[in-house]
Amino acid sequence: MKFDSPATTNPIDQLKIVGKPTNRIDGPAKTTGTATYAYEWKHPDLKPAYGHVVGAGIAKGRIASIDLGDAQAYPGVLAIVTAENAGKLGKSKRNTAKLLGGPEIDHYHQAIAVVIAETFEQARAAAQLVRVEYIRAEGSFDLARSRDSAPDVQNAATGDFLAAFSDAPIQLDETYTTPDHSHAMMEPHASLAAWDGDKLVVWTSNQMIDWGRTDLAATLGIKKDKIQFISPYIGGGFGGKLFLRADVVLAALAARAAKRPVKVALTRPFIFNNTTHRPATIQRIRIGAGKDGKITAIGHETWSGDLPDGGPETAAEQSRLLYAGANRMMATRLALLDLPEGNAMRAPGEAPGLMALEIAIDEMAEKLEIDPIEFRILNDIQVDPEKPTRQFSQRQLVACLRQGAERFAWNKRNPRAGQIRDGEWLVGMGVAAAFRNNIPMKSAARVRVDNRGIVTVETDMTDIGTGSYTIIAQTAAEMMGVGLDMVTVSLGDSAFPVAAGSGGQWGANSSTAGVYAACVKLREALSHKMEFDPSDAVFADGTISAGNRRFTLAEAAGETGVVAEDIMEYGDLAKRYQQSTFGAHFVEVGVDTATAEIRIRRMLAVCAAGRILNPKTARSQVIGAMTMGAGAALMEELVVDKRVGFFVNHDLAGYEVPVHADIPHQDVIFLDETDPTSSPMKAKGVGELGICGVGAAIANAIYNATGVRVRDYPITLDKLLDQMPA
């Protein structure tokens, strides 16, 4: 099915099942421990061996020698794979650094060997006997020092920014920094690989089945159709499992070497330096405005770093679309750094970009002596600022801000900073806009109805804890006129049609649109079979009917059942309309007057993100994202040791993420919205919108509480202490 004109009324609009706050259909399996995660899979016939990964102990250089003798002699060891004996390996375009390094080392903890043994304990003990001598090379590990040598990789300019900025009566020119972040998902990367002749099956934990399978084929130099990728349950990803990672490649190589299935999990410390992370940024923001508060010039330059052939953190992108202003200048620059590979983490670009931009907006509002909500409303724009003929499909930023202000009692905020005391606490409120684009991705599904009337959906879509199983079931139930109890959903297997996968908050809208397309086809097939005109056939209450004829779906399906498969593809609606999601974050914090400890008191997000397919799972997504945003604001930082070139705090004791005690109260409101340009589902995404802007809302609340403006995240007490009242 091709979606190339705005959606009109369709069966989803009945909203009998879609749009209802439905519990996860996979919840019971997860809470009873019967959902199988990657490391728990068992090969149907064969006992697996276990692989343990050896990571490079230097950031850059070469392996001078690698002594495997003691490891090979260790009891139970079956084989050791290194770059030397692994055979020729390719590298996919989606990977920057090699997943099996050596002799050149590209980054700290890059995998250089996998030791395979009968038991996990033997493999681990033997891996610690691998002795490696290195020749260290000089590396670049300091973004601030590499900043001036970083070339532009993306630019966007409108009007004459420099002239307009220098003419502006009110100016802001500030620099903000965000540190490297780790996805720190609960489930580490893990895979079980088994060869059967030249066929390879991999049970793994991956957000993008087809990318993973394609890239594994490219890495191993085998045909894609020889590989099956299975990943039905994923214990968190946040972008860290978008790509093929070392666990998959090493499990496949280890299984080949050991001639039996092999399991490989990355240990927790490896998550930080072996896998990808969100790169640190330095962001310079300049805003010029008239005394009336209208922005006349807006400039956002951002610097980040990555390994050779890597990509930038696109932290200036939202600034192209969020606020008005005739003169605009955005620049994205990329330095060469020899740190581990940077890549996508929840809302890449916008998450760190808005952490900076939305402080700058707060600072500008204060200069102008305008309420920060009113300043944002004053500079709202309903068209693409770079191309004013192009409209937003939906843009309810103003409504998000207004509703949130009312719900949060924003009028109780004292616009003068540092004024509100509650016992030992200084208390303040902050606001920030949330913005994240909608990305429609083609997505396919297969839908079958059997002789019991059970509807089965198969697609290689993944559920990374987001609720994909549930919204796909809701979509199929709504389309086929059955209850949720009559729908079965199978996900995460490359034997199924290729779906959008989970990333970029595109998964919900795109994958359900693919299911919609397959269901339309199935409705047609059933109609033809029962000799109905498909446009007259009504699917409701488990029946298909038209005129005075009515059959149960089971009858219509017959003994053999009926199956249909389709893919949803997109025309140019996303080009004709700017499809984005909007929100507003409100935060109240307390800052301890003595210690400068910062504690969130309450948070509210108001989101306008198209049709909300399941308010319950969507709310969970936004709450999770707000929590992650709180971590970024207050504690999360991969600390770079600039002498050695690695992230020092590589465990969950050193890399703190928020716990329940950090956020006593969170609330989420979804505005009523449907976006007919996005898909027949009229939905967009919320999973990343929820993190966008949160950090700045917290930073602005801290400023309102204390009068101390911190522009370097995370905002920890040591950055406030000297400026706190005595």
């Binding site: 030992e424 050695v644 050193g654 716990v659 329940h660 040591d718 202490l721």
Partner: protein, 318 residues
């Protein structure tokens, strides 16, 4: 993890004797720290002596009016004990500010005292660390040191002691009771249990080979207001950046111990004499000779400000 042999000890003396006979052996109780370190091959015992079966899990009144806490009393049970809550509130509060519920259920009194440093360089066997490899160097000096100690440090090591419980015990003048391999016992004032790093940071306590902690005794209660204030970035389940333990008496005299700033629970009795002069005077004395890094110099200010707030709180309490 290196392969190891394992035995269950039958008595404290037998455990101490076995440990002394087998260099490379370690006692294991809760294992909340040791097992993590073994997985990373930071600790590589060849033999584990499991002391969990020894009947060292009771809290008993002493003839002197104090409490004798068995070495194996779990942190959860110690914090919840009615006598501890009534007479040694500082200890209960310190315990509950530490770790997580699950860890406190498992962690023991003696194990808590003997937990090892949480320095990230100590935890990475590819980095230099004088605790792991004496003489190799200290990567934390000149590296990431925001959490590290500011006082009592040396050029060999700047790791801080991570325990909350030990800070309260230091303020309470706890006595550590041990059994030696020859079956004799000794009592060690907690002030003398932990060593400063000097140029031997790998030797962390004054315990001898095979010496086993069997109990910690608290002297008779001294009354006063007990406050334990732990300062941290995350509201729960985080090590202290700084912690301040005070016991303040009605006449304004008192005791002050601090955590997160030194390689051992830190108390300077001379500093307590200056309590009437206020937090700054106490802090100046307490942290005299401090040698902070650029990244942890804030701890000097933080101790003073936290102490001031805690003393104000003690003064305002009924």
């Amino acid at each position: 993890m290196k392969a190891f042999t394992y035995e269950r000890a039958v008595s404290p003396a037998a455990a101490a004797q076995a440990a002394a006979h087998l260099p490379g052996s370690k006692f294991i109780a809760g294992g909340t720290n040791l097992l993590d370190l073994m997985k990373l091959q930071i600790e590589t015992p060849t033999h584990l002596i499991d002391v969990n079966g020894l009947a060292l899990d009771r809290i008993e009144a002493t003839p002197e009016g104090g409490l004798r806490i068995g070495a194996l009393v779990r942190n959860t049970d110690l914090a919840a004990d009615a006598r501890v809550r009534r007479d040694y509130g500082l200890l209960s509060r310190a315990l509950l500010s530490g770790a997580s519920g699950q860890l406190r259920n498992k962690a023991t009194t003696a194990g808590n005292l003997l937990q090892r440093a949480r320095c990230p360089y100590f935890y990475d066997t590819d980095q230099l660390c004088n605790k792991r490899h004496p003489g190799s160097g200290c990567a934390a000096l000149g590296g990431f040191s925001r959490q590290h100690a500011v006082v009592g440090v040396s050029d060999s090591c700047i790791a801080s002691h991570p325990s909350d419980m030990a800070v309260a015990m230091r303020a309470l003048d706890a006595i550590v009771e041990t059994v030696l391999p020859d079956g004799s016992t000794r009592s060690i004032p907690i002030a003398e249990l932990h060593r400063l790093p000097g140029d031997t940071p790998h030797i962390e306590t004054t315990l001898g080979a095979g010496e086993l902690i069997v109990a910690v005794t608290l002297p008779k209660p001294i009354g006063g207001k007990h406050i334990y204030r732990k300062v941290r970035d995350r509201a729960s389940y985080a090590f202290a950046l700084v912690s301040v333990a005070v016991i303040v008496q009605a006449d304004g005299s008192g005791r002050v111990a601090v955590g997160g700033v030194a390689p051992k629970p830190w108390r300077v009795e001379a500093a307590e004499a200056r309590l009437p002069e206020g937090a700054k005077a106490v802090t100046d004395e307490l942290l005299a000779g401090a040698a902070p890094t650029r990244e942890n110099a804030y701890k000097l200010t933080l101790v003073e400000r936290t102490l001031r707030a805690v003393l104000a709180e003690a003064g305002s309490q009924p």
